[in-house]
Amino acid sequence: MTAPKPRVLVPSAAGKGEVIRVKTIISHQMETGLRHDAQGQVIPRKIINRFVCRYAGVVVFSMDLHEAISANPFIEFYLRATESGRLEFIWEEDGGGVYQLEHQLAVA
C-alpha cells in the first residue's frame, strides 16, 4: 500500500469572525479487521482512528473514527476565523502512524 496521502481544502484568507469551511481527505484503506484474505486469514484492523485540527496551537475540532467510516475518510467541518495563524491537520493511525498537513490562514 502506498503511503496515505492527506489533502486539505481551506481558504488562505478570511474576515475576522467569519465561518470557513474546511474539507479534508486522506487516502487510506480503513481496513476494518472484518475481512478475510484468499487463504481465509483475517486481515488485521488498520484504520485512521483520530483526526485533530489545531488553530494557532489550540485544538478546535477533533473526530474519533471507527471502522464504520468509509475508506479514504472524508471530513468536512467549519471553523471560525479568529486570528491569523497556522492551521494544523493531524491524522492518527492504528499502530502509531501520524500524518500531518499545515496551512497558514490570514485573518483581516
Binding site: V19, T32, L34, R35, Y55, V58, V59, V60, F61, S62, M63, D64, L65, H66, E67, A68, I69, S70, A71, P73, F74, I75, E76, F77, Y78, L79, R80, T82
Partner: protein
C-alpha cells in the same frame, strides 16, 4: 475494544425491557417505528447511562435510499450558539445493525467553530443511523434517520 453488535445483543438479553421490544406486533409500520424508537433509546441508555431526548435541533441528514453501503454520505449539524454557556461538546453516531456499531465521535469547541460536519460511512444493511449530542449542561439530544442501502459496506 470496539463495540460489536454482539456486545449490545448480549446486554439486551440480560435487560428485560429489551425482550419485550424485540417482538414487534405484526402488520402496522407504526408499531415497527415505535419498536425501533424503543431499541434506539435503549441502546443509548446502555451506552451512556443517561436517557436521551429526541430533538429536532439535531439534524442527521442522510439519503433515504443509497445504492452502496460502502460510502454513504452523512451530514450532521445542530442548532447551537456554541457559546461558552451553551454549546455541544460532542456528537456520537451509531449504526446499530453494523457488526461494529460505533461510527464516529465529533468533538467541538465553543466559539471556535459551528457544530456542523460531513463525512461518509459504511453501513452493513438498511437501518436507522443514530446521532447523540452531548450538550455542555449534560443533556443528551438524539435523532435518527433510516437509510436503505442496497449492499453491505462492511465486508
Amino acid at each position: 475494544m470496539s463495540l460489536t453488535r454482539r456486545d449490545m445483543l448480549m446486554a439486551a438479553c440480560v435487560g428485560s425491557a429489551a425482550l419485550a421490544s424485540a417482538f414487534p406486533s405484526p402488520g402496522s409500520t407504526r408499531a415497527q417505528d415505535d419498536t425501533a424508537q424503543d431499541d434506539t433509546m435503549d441502546l443509548i441508555e446502555r451506552l451512556t447511562g443517561q436517557t436521551p431526548t429526541l430533538s429536532d435541533r439535531l439534524h442527521l441528514v442522510m439519503p433515504a435510499v443509497f445504492p452502496t453501503g460502502y460510502t454513504v454520505p452523512m451530514d450532521l449539524d445542530i442548532n447551537s450558539p456554541m457559546t461558552a454557556d451553551d454549546h455541544v461538546r460532542r456528537i456520537r453516531v451509531f449504526a446499530p445493525q453494523n457488526p461494529l456499531i460505533e461510527v464516529a465521535s465529533f468533538n467541538f469547541v465553543p466559539q471556535r467553530g459551528i457544530a456542523r460536519v460531513s463525512t461518509r460511512i459504511r453501513l452493513a444493511e438498511p437501518q436507522y443511523v443514530v446521532a447523540v449530542a452531548e450538550m455542555n449542561d449534560g443533556m443528551l439530544l438524539m435523532t435518527k434517520t433510516f437509510v436503505d442501502v442496497a449492499t453491505n459496506g462492511c465486508i
